[in-house]
């Protein structure tokens, strides 16, 4: 008996040693970016990108999540796009040029000649119209981008976009991968539709999640929302050939991404926070501010809270937050949000013009408000992270800061879908949230004005600040960029003096990559352009 047991144990040990021997010899040969003398086929070089998936679909008309944006950006072309990390000026992609009418209601685009889809079909204006109207009529997450906009194709080479209200953000909006151009004939054959009833009539999602029908530098090889997405280079791409023949995007936790990129199992880690990226050696770290903006809201509705709707109380909170310590908490590369518009967009305030921390003033404001030393609930989503930062971390620091002012904050972290309810219903006395831009244009931030989408979530109703609202109306109708810049900055200054919103920080957006990668740039809209890598 004893002998048998020892034999069995011996076998287990032998097998384990054998396995580890196998692993140590083959871990070195797992394909990396440089295909130098390894066992893989010389022609195809592979790139492994690791991110924590926020992904539901790669059907552009239904896609509006960070991972989906990164993937669809290289599967599909858009009329205009951005190069590298510059998100202030759109550049031509499928459209070579465009003109805008004076009232910002009509935009005319001239299409590039000779572009073909990956399957060989030519790209025509009707494909463009089909794709744009399909995204609009399917009523999915990205449909709001086309709100009030209609696309028509007066000729085989021209596409005209007409907006019912002046819309100065259209060039920025068109860069979004959700408005990527699909092959109309193939998508219709798969059950797709751009008709007014596309919400129920379109059945092409499953097909598009198996085979992409785009003209971008890559095509879809395999898709899963939980394990990995594999892309293969498009041999018929009309633009410069991408360097990597195959891209594997894996779904991995942020802390594990760090270990994997250090060990060379992956070449790019997308979701590391500054603290995680600190002190990493042997890799390149691309560090810039993210357009995601964390903010605090205090409800302006006296029915929700008599305390938070008190203007002096709001000032006390604004003056009582130690912004510098929050920036430090968020790590290198993070910046204080100077206003509700992130620093990289048109119309933002220059560095240093944001709210300043003044504890004495805050205490004076609190005393002047007459609310005494109130106790309030601070609601925030406890189970998601943005750019590696968890809301609970920020909330704890804010709680500590406000404690010094004399405001007693109770943290009320809830899971996202529960917290979203009270947030969207405008029922939170205090909330800690973030806004990720829908498109890289200041017009998106008019949502924070009284009576608008986010304004209402803070109980800021129409008529609460008439001069500010007038400014907003003027700004949304102005097409001249220099005038827009002045107007938006005025809006921000007004909001920084009195509003229920306290912009806190923009976290750092960090890309960690293997040193062999060239041209690794962080992009505010699609995180990283996988086709531009060298």
């Amino acid at each position: 008996m004893r002998l048998n047991q020892w034999l069995a144990a011996g076998c287990v040990v032998a097998v384990t040693i054998g396995l580890s021997a196998c692993s140590s010899t083959s871990s070195g040969s797992s394909s990396s970016g440089t295909s130098a003398g390894t066992t893989s086929a010389p022609a195809v070089s592979n790139l492994v990108v690791e991110t924590s998936f926020v992904l539901k679909t790669v059907d552009p008309a239904r896609m509006f999540e960070p991972t989906g944006l990164m993937i669809d950006h290289v599967l599909y072309d858009t009329l205009l796009t951005y190069k590298g990390s510059n998100v202030s000026t759109p550049v031509p992609d499928l459209a070579t040029s465009y003109t805008a009418s004076a009232d910002a209601k009509t935009y005319t685009f001239t299409l590039r000649q000779g572009v073909k889809f990956a399957n060989g079909d030519p790209v025509t204006a009707s494909d463009v119209v089909f794709s744009l109207m399909r995204t609009k009529n399917i009523n999915g997450n990205p449909s709001f981008l086309m709100a009030g906009i209609t696309a028509t194709a007066p000729s085989a080479n021209t596409v005209v976009l007409t907006s019912s209200t002046p819309n100065t953000a259209i060039p920025a909006i068109l860069t979004n991968p959700a408005l990527g151009i699909v092959d109309q004939s193939k998508v219709v054959a798969a059950g797709g539709s751009d008709a007014a009833n596309a919400a129920t009539a379109d059945k092409a999602e499953a097909s598009l999640n198996t085979t992409s029908e785009g003209s971008g530098p890559y095509t879809l090889t395999s898709f899963s929302t939980t394990t990995q997405v594999v892309l293969t280079a498009n041999p018929n791409y009309w633009g410069p050939k991408p360097k990597y023949g195959k891209i594997i995007i894996r779904n991995v936790e942020a802390s594990i991404q760090k270990l994997d990129v250090l060990r060379g199992e992956s070449q790019i880690a997308v979701d590391l926070s500054p603290t995680q990226a600190q002190g990493m050696s042997g890799v390149q770290i691309v560090n810039g501010a993210s357009p995601n903006l964390f903010f605090l809201l205090t409800n302006d509705n006296p029915k929700v809270s008599k305390v938070t709707s008190n203007p002096k109380f709001q000032e006390a909170v604004r003056d009582g937050i130690n912004y510098a310590s929050l920036v430090q908490l968020a790590g290198t590369g993070a910046v204080q949000a100077t206003g509700i518009i992130p620093t990289m967009f048109l119309g933002s305030l220059p560095t240093g013009s944001g709210a300043t921390y003044n504890l004495t003033q805050a205490k004076a404001d609190l005393a002047a408000s007459g609310v005494g030393h109130p106790t309030l609930n601070l609601v925030y989503p406890s189970d998601i992270q943005v750019n590696g930062i968890s809301f609970g971390t920020l909330a704890a620091r804010v709680q500590q800061d406000l404690q010094q002012v004399g405001i007693n904050v109770q943290l009320q972290g809830q899971s996202i879908q529960v917290a979203l309810n009270s947030y969207r219903g405008g029922q939170e006395a205090m909330g800690l949230w973030y806004w990720g831009p829908d498109f890289p244009d200041p017009a998106d931030y008019l949502n924070f004005l009284p009576g608008a989408l986010v304004g209402l979530r803070a109980g800021w109703v129409k008529g609460a600040d008439p001069s500010l609202e007038a400014l907003g109306n003027t700004a949304s109708g102005t097409t001249q960029n220099s005038t827009r810049e002045t107007l938006y900055q005025q809006i921000l200054r007004s909001m920084n003096t009195s509003s229920p919103f306290m912009p806190l920080i923009q976290p750092a957006q960090i890309l960690v990559g293997a040193t062999s990668l060239k041209n690794l740039q962080s992009n505010a809209l699609w995180l990283v352009d996988l086709s531009e890598l060298g």
């Binding site: 936790e253 942020a254 802390s255 926070s273 603290t275 908490l329 189970d383 943290l411 972290g413 899971s415």
Partner: protein
């Protein structure tokens, strides 16, 4: 996650213990013959002291974010600091104030609920027995963490709801045990005698059967405390139990998972959980050995 074999198997040998010893004296441990139990008691005793005197022992306020973020263990911070600059050592000490009392409350609640339901089921039999036992089977059919996960997610991520979830998942094992004990005791002569003397059902349950049932139930409880602690900290690890800034061990390990390189953030809270659960398991194991005559006999041969 309680692994319990089904009633007929009775791995604890507790039913036999009941039938062999009619009136069980409360068992007093014989520590000098049982090093494991002694170790367990010592460790738990130490943690209880820590839990009570944490405000005096801990070098810093567990909520104060005043140190350098993610600094390694040093003379100033024995266990290093976490990602908000708080002293990990103080947080581990204060964590005992959450885990220990909650685990005890949890087990006591599950024990009482389970024992009452099981006693009623065993004694009265019939459809009452059926209903209660089917309910217990239902809860058993869900492995602990998944049901606890669903309940905690449904009620909202809060420590209180995590406790409720774990209680809900734990009571069936007590119900089953007590039911089988009651069933075997029901036909015992002293119970029959008691009923002949005119005692009502409830009186028999509480006066005659309960002292005999107490031993095995307490053993199960002692063995179960460890599992309760694991389940509770598991829920906190998933984000469904203790919320920030509470210094709870499971939540602290989750924080450590965010920062693998800073191994001290997750290692020490996990060790704390391990020592507590291990100590409870030592005690429970020794208790069971003492109460189970057959194993005891085999051991002494």
């Amino acid at each position: 996650m309680t692994v319990s074999a089904r009633a007929p198997l009775d791995p604890l040998g507790t039913a036999d213990a009941v039938t062999r010893r009619r009136r069980l004296r409360p068992v007093t441990p014989v520590p000098w013959r049982r090093p494991l139990a002694l170790t367990g008691l010592a460790v738990i005793g130490a943690w209880v002291v820590v839990a009570i005197f944490a405000p005096l022992i801990a070098p810093d306020n567990p909520l104060a974010q005043k140190f350098t973020i993610l600094a390694g263990p040093s003379a100033a911070n024995w266990f290093g600091t976490d990602e908000l600059g708080r002293d990990v050592f103080s947080r581990v000490l204060f964590g005992a104030r959450i885990t220990l009392p909650l685990a005890v409350i949890l087990i006591v609640s599950a024990m009482i609920i389970g024992a009452v339901l099981g006693g009623i089921a065993g004694f009265f039999g019939g459809w009452v027995d059926n209903v209660i036992m089917r309910l217990a089977d239902l809860v058993f059919a869900f492995p602990g963490i998944i049901l606890a996960l669903a309940i905690a997610a449904a009620l909202g991520p809060q420590l209180r709801n995590a406790v409720i979830a774990v209680v809900f998942v734990s009571w069936p094992s007590y119900a089953r045990l007590v039911r089988s004990l009651v069933l075997s005791a029901r036909s015992a002569q002293y119970v029959v005698a008691s009923r002949l003397l005119g005692s009502s059902g409830l009186r028999v349950l509480f006066v005659d059967i309960r002292p005999n049932a107490a031993g095995p139930v307490l053993v199960l409880a002692a063995l179960d405390v460890g599992n309760a602690v694991l389940l509770l900290s598991g829920l906190s690890f998933l984000g469904l139990g203790a919320q920030p800034p509470t210094a709870e061990w499971g939540a602290m390990v989750a924080e450590g998972a965010q920062n693998f390189n800073d191994w001290w953030v997750g290692l020490f809270p996990g060790l704390a959980i391990l020592t507590v659960v291990l100590a409870f398991n030592f005690i429970g194991d020794s208790l069971r050995d003492m109460l189970d005559p057959r194993t005891a006999r085999a051991v002494r041969i």
